[in-house]
């Protein structure tokens, strides 16, 4: 009896209600993970147990053999206009200046920025389109370099989303929910597949801007949400100090750092034994990861050994840290080091007005480097194992926002249709999927919802989006919520 009394006291002392709850919920999550990993199968167990440091990390194996081992997502934040770049609509030229027929819009909601307009004059692309390559794909003159890689690319012209404004739409793409708080896509992948390179995080984020004054981005987009914190995206900046707080403070050398970490680990271990919160272990494995990154990151980010012609390939801007081109080059270097998910964000695509000029600036800031990345991955034999995705959070409307003149117009947000492209492992080459109507307004063939797109990318990475789940606050969550269908026709 006294034993039980003692035990009870001990538990009461050590476990606050909150700790207990979070412990048990994580315990359940871990159990779910264990079943995903089929941890009872002895080999998997060996593989999991064999990881140095973070034995508690859910190191996964895919549900089925993956076609893509890694992904580079070139996210074009602000929503590039598909009508100027990828989706050619001659009808807009014929009907230039006429009102968008109500039969097309069918009362669809508009943003507050154009809902009050008395007319919706159709605006044609100022830029011409031409056909390229053996696959004979149409692409705009704004993308001269991209036009040289169309034979490696699948264009999805029938993307559609639910959100109409930037923040919810980007959040929807990145976390599967319009409201923040859910784990980011990269975190899900890190959680499900683990990391190959023990010295680098499996989810890395790179940021760039094509133009000032555009939509902001937030850390919630690469947050781990309710997943263990080891799966958070790590932002790498360009320049000598890529990761915040990674370098030792002045006066602290590597040995002191090591000793400090060893002592800290003892304290953390004692704390863990007391309150059994797995986040303590995750935190410790983050410290260790940071320690290893102190050597690994400068090595990876060192571009001084790149030959001149590789810089030429990515374009003049690739020599300038923090540009999209420089980030594309870094992305390649990260992929070479087997980082699983490299998430680039490039800001500046929100052309409500002055579209012709601004989109030209933007296209120039990404065109050469995007094409160069594909070519560079290809010659290294990496495109066969890596998936590259290029696209924004929604599209832009067929009618002009504000005054329409021959040389100037703007376009408002348009969730009903937009284009993204993918290249690399497991997707068809020189292929177009989906179709919009002659105004580029509604999808008329093979619509691809954001959740379908997510399901497809997960599929390529060997993950069944319906089976990568995490139980949190009493319900099971997944990236695609209860939706998503793999778009099989674009797969090889």
């Amino acid at each position: 009896m006294s034993f039980y009394r003692e035990l009870e006291n001990h538990v009461h002392e050590q476990l606050s209600r909150r700790n207990f709850l979070s412990k048990t919920s994580l315990g359940l999550g871990a159990a779910a993970m264990a079943s995903l990993l089929n941890a009872d199968d002895s080999m998997a167990k060996k593989v999991i147990d064999g990881t140095p440091e973070g034995a508690s990390l859910p190191l996964g194996k895919p549900h089925f053999a993956p076609k893509a081992k890694r992904i580079i997502y070139l996210f074009q934040s602000g929503a590039p206009s598909q009508l100027e770049l990828f989706d050619y609509k001659p009808k807009l030229e014929q009907m230039w200046g006429q009102d968008l027929p109500e039969s097309v819009r069918k009362g669809q909601r508009l943003t507050g920025m154009t809902a009050g307009q008395s007319s919706f004059p159709l605006a044609a692309s100022k830029y011409k389109f031409a056909r390229y390559g053996p696959s004979d794909l149409m692409i705009s003159e704004l993308m001269p370099y991209t036009s040289s890689i169309v034979d490696d690319v699948t264009f999805i012209r029938s993307m559609h989303t639910e959100a109409i404004n930037h923040d919810p739409a980007v959040t929807f793409f990145q976390t599967g929910s319009q409201q923040g708080g859910r784990p980011s896509w990269g975190s899900w992948i890190s959680y499900g597949l683990g990391s190959d390179n023990q010295n680098m995080p499996s989810f890395v984020v790179l940021l760039s801007k094509g133009r000032g004054g555009d939509q902001p981005l937030y850390a919630k987009l690469w947050s781990n949400g309710f997943l263990p914190s080891v799966h958070q995206g790590v932002v790498f900046r360009s320049g000598p100090d890529p990761v915040f707080y990674l370098n030792n403070p002045e006066g602290i050398d590597k040995t002191s750092r090591r000793r400090m970490l060893n002592s800290l680990a003892k304290l953390q271990q004692a704390q863990f034994e007391k309150i059994l919160d797995p986040e303590i272990n995750y935190r410790m494995s983050q410290y260790e990861m940071a320690y290893r990154m102190q050597t690994a990151v400068p090595e990876t980010m060192d571009i001084s050994k790149e030959p001149e012609y590789i810089f030429d390939l990515y374009g003049e801007e690739s020599r300038k840290p923090g540009t999209f081109a420089a980030n594309c080059l870094l992305a390649r270097k990260l992929i070479e080091k087997d980082v699983k998910f490299v998430q680039l964000y490039h800001q500046g695509w929100d052309q409500h007005g002055n579209l012709p000029n601004d989109i030209k600036t933007m296209a120039k800031s990404v065109d050469q480097a995007s094409a160069a990345l594909i070519k560079d991955l290809k010659q290294r034999g990496l495109l066969d194992e890596t998936l590259v995705v290029w696209g924004g959070e929604f599209g832009r409307g067929a009618y002009s926002q504000g005054k329409l003149t021959k040389d100037n117009y703007g376009r408002d947000h348009h969730p009903r249709s937009f284009t993204i492209w993918m290249a690399g492992a497991g997707v068809k080459k020189g292929f177009v999927f989906g179709e919009t109507d002659e105004f580029g307004y509604n999808v008329i063939k093979d619509p691809v919802h954001v959740h379908d797109f997510q399901a497809t990318v997960m599929h390529l990475l060997g993950v069944d989006h319906e089976r990568l789940v995490f139980k949190h606050q009493g319900r099971r969550y997944r990236l695609t919520d209860v939706h998503g269908k793999v778009v099989k026709p674009i797969l090889t």
Partner: protein, 491 residues
């Protein structure tokens, strides 16, 4: 009047459905009463007579209510009559015995009848035992007769004299010879047995419908025939399946296993083609709608998730030697199963830039299991390749940026599946390229920054057009790329 009747039948079913809830009250009460009674006999607990009396009264009331609800529920129909009868009488028996036991315990009878306490205890025991039997009948009525014992594991199975477990129909296996398969027997019936006959079969006939044989399907149930031969669109069976999941009449019920699109297509096609019991696939006319469904039968793709999910052919190998895997991990190799449920493994030296030839030798015991191997960017030489010669399942091999030469490539000749070979930044020459071009399975080889020349590539392309030989960029080609791009760039 009609309205009132309708309403009353609603009431009946409403109350009836509480049967499964109510039924557990007397079960619990009786067991606890019996337990207390026994323990009391052995002086293990102190319980007054009045507590036992109260418990017996509660048991009796509970059992009576459960009987009433059960009767109303049974009125809804759809159960096996024999089993239902036996269940009902056992239930009534329990209620009756409980009442009598309670009466016998009353002061009035205890005083006059000497044997009353013994009698009461015996009745209580009988009633308690009856709950087990009746409860089992009830379970069989709801879940099917073999529900409880269906998953009896060995050796209890043989000990109990039960037949060996039939492979569950739940996994519909691939059909080897689709054109010669008999449509009803080989395709339709297994699907129905998996999804429908649990409620519409020999055990239970919800809505008086049976779907376990063709005659019964055409005869139909309460709401008419299940299939109209030649007209799938008018067949209730198909209509029910196509209703939205939320619809009350949708079949199978929400939460139960659903028919897939392919399965519905197949059943519709079979009905349209005359719902024959013995015709083969080849004897019926196919149409566009059913083709993909028929195609799916041949592969293991019947469970829809399974199709097109793997980039690798299914190669069955034994589980890798755990000690060998451990040895690899000890020297910091990354070892991963290719996928869930597969013994094939992927091995990478991404965390091991200092990898030596000797350490590659550690892979030998896993010669069957390794399908992807990444040892590029390390200190290995040709000797390392000798260690992996005869890795017959190897499909992807990364040797980039190593000191590999032509001589080492001889070791690859017995790798019929090798499809991807990365030789970027090696010393391999045109002679080496010739050697590997002979590999049967080779699809892509990457030769950028190796000693392989443009001319050597051209030669192999002529004779081996199916191999994709990927060269790469150099100063001139990049200059050309930039020149072309700039020429097209708008000012």
């Amino acid at each position: 009047m009609y309205n009132l009747l309708l309403q009353s039948s609603d009431w009946a079913l409403f109350i009836g459905r509480f049967h499964p809830v109510l039924v557990h009250l007397p079960i619990g009460f009786l067991i606890i009463t019996a337990l207390l009674e026994v323990l009391r006999r052995f002086d293990k607990v102190i319980v007054s007579e009045s507590v036992i009396r109260l418990l017996l009264l509660l048991s009796a009331i509970g059992a009576t209510l459960a009987c009433i609800a059960g009767y109303l529920l049974a009125d809804g129909g759809g159960y096996d009559h024999e089993l239902l009868d036996s269940h009902m009488w056992k239930g009534i028996g329990i209620a009756l015995f409980a009442w009598i036991a309670w009466l016998l315990k009353s002061d009035l009878l205890t005083a006059r009848l000497k044997t009353a306490p013994v009698l009461a205890s015996s009745l209580l025991l009988v009633a308690t035992l009856l709950t087990f039997v009746a409860g089992h009948d009830g379970g069989s009525l709801t879940h099917g007769a073999d529900y409880l014992t269906q998953h009896t594991p060995e050796p209890f199975r043989s000990l109990a004299g039960m037949p060996a477990k039939v492979v569950e129909i739940a996994e519909l296996g691939p059909i080897a010879d689709v054109p010669n398969a008999i449509v009803y027997v080989d395709i339709i019936k297994p699907v129905l047995e998996r999804t429908c006959t649990q409620c519409h079969g020999p055990g239970k006939q919800k809505g008086d419908l049976r779907l376990d044989n063709l005659t019964a399907m055409i005869k139909g149930g309460k709401e008419g025939p299940a299939i109209v031969v030649g007209k799938s669109a008018e067949s209730e069976l198909i209509k029910r399946c196509l209703l939205p999941l939320e619809d009350e009449k949708h079949m199978s019920p929400k939460g139960k296993a659903q028919l897939t699109e392919n399965q519905i297509a197949l059943i519709s096609w079979w009905i349209d083609q005359g719902a024959s019991e013995d015709k083969k696939v080849a004897e019926l006319k196919t149409n566009d709608a059913v083709k993909p469904a028929l195609a799916s039968l041949g592969s293991s793709a019947q469970n829809e998730v399974a199709d097109k999910t793997t980039s690798e052919p299914e190669i069955k190998v034994a589980l890798g030697n755990p000690q060998a895997i451990e040895a690899l991990q000890k020297v910091n190799f990354l070892v991963r199963p290719l996928a869930h449920g597969q013994n094939l493994i992927e091995v990478s030296a991404v965390n091991k830039p200092g990898l030596t030839d000797e350490q590659v030798g550690l892979l030998k015991p896993l010669s069957e299991q390794v399908i992807w191997l990444k040892i590029g960017g390390t200190k290995i030489t040709d000797n390392a390749l000798k260690a992996i010669s005869g890795f017959k399942n190897l499909k992807k091999l990364h040797l980039e940026n190593t000191a590999i030469t032509d001589a080492g490539l001889d070791a690859l000749k017995d790798m019929p599946h090798l499809a991807y070979l990365n030789l970027v930044g090696t010393k391999v020459t045109d002679d080496g390229l010739k050697k590997i071009a002979a590999l049967k399975g080779l699809k892509s080889v990457f030769v950028w920054q190796s000693a392989i020349t443009e001319k050597g590539i051209e030669e192999i392309r002529k004779t081996h057009a199916h191999i994709q030989i990927v060269g790469g960029l150099n100063e001139e080609s990049v200059a050309e790329f930039v020149r072309l791009g700039e020429a097209k760039t708008l000012n």
